[in-house]
């Protein structure tokens, strides 16, 4: 039940376009004692159906810039392979700390970002 609730709350946040993983991963690690890599793996799985649905809606509304997307995806695939292999190799507590630093930067950015 706790897991469904955590998923539900982070789903609301991600539906608003703020970033569900930044809530979901720490909740799993801090509240459910799940290993950092496992929490990240869960987030990847949860993202797939949610993103596919959102993508379909955006595509029908014509919100997608295909021109830019292609090159970013090519670079991104190389990055994703390197990043995922690294994640599998790093020990869990170091990865959690790196993740924490990344999260701190996101939080500072959200707080001080200028309103549009």
């Amino acid at each position: 039940m706790m897991l469904i609730l955590i998923g539900f709350l982070s789903g609301i946040i991600s539906g608003m376009g703020i970033g569900g993983g930044t809530i979901l991963i720490p909740s799993l690690v801090l509240l459910n004692n799940i290993k950092q890599q496992d929490a990240q793996g869960i987030n990847l799985i949860v993202f797939l159906p949610v993103a596919a649905t959102a993508l379909y809606t955006h595509y029908k509304k014509g919100n997608i810039e295909f021109m830019y997307a292609k090159s970013i995806i090519i670079g991104g695939i190389i990055g994703a392979i390197i990043g995922s292999i690294l994640a599998a190799k790093i020990n869990s507590s170091s990865l959690r700390k790196f993740f924490g630093v990344f999260l701190l930067l996101i939080g500072i950015y959200e707080l001080f970002k200028k309103k549009k």
């Binding site: 998923g7 609301i12 720490p26 793996g41 990847l44 997608i64 994640a87 599998a88 924490g100 939080g107």
Partner: protein, 119 residues
């Protein structure tokens, strides 16, 4: 290859690296990059970021899976909650003051980050 193409490849490389390493966060790189470097509007940047991160996440999922880093039993429960929650979030999007929410979110994130670092 022109300058723009290099820039786009580099944005992708960084976003893919982050998204693979942390299993999340690719969007936090792509959205500001599209807005500030490419001049795409905020709404389109969000939509485009999803198109980009989806295939990257599929690749990361495959690599995580082959390293036994995906506990499926737990993932199913979280996914059920996540799918329902994201529908609700998308419906609420235009009904609540998102800027105030972002400040609250930022504060929670900073607190959580510190706990992750010092756990």
């Amino acid at each position: 290859m022109n300058n723009t193409k290099y820039k786009l490849l580099l944005i992708g490389l960084v976003a893919g690296l982050i998204n693979g390493l942390f299993g999340s966060g690719g969007g936090t790189i792509i959205v500001p990059a599209l807005v500030f470097l490419m001049g795409v509007n905020d709404y389109k940047a969000h939509a485009t970021a999803i198109l980009i991160i989806l295939p990257l996440s599929v690749i990361s999922t495959i690599i995580y899976f082959s390293n036994n880093l995906i506990p499926f039993k737990t993932a199913i429960h979280v996914t059920i909650g996540g799918v329902v929650g994201s529908f609700l979030g998308a419906k609420l999007l235009n009904k609540i003051p998102i800027n105030i929410l972002r400040k609250i979110f930022g504060s929670i994130i900073i607190y959580t980050a510190i706990r992750m670092i010092w756990k």
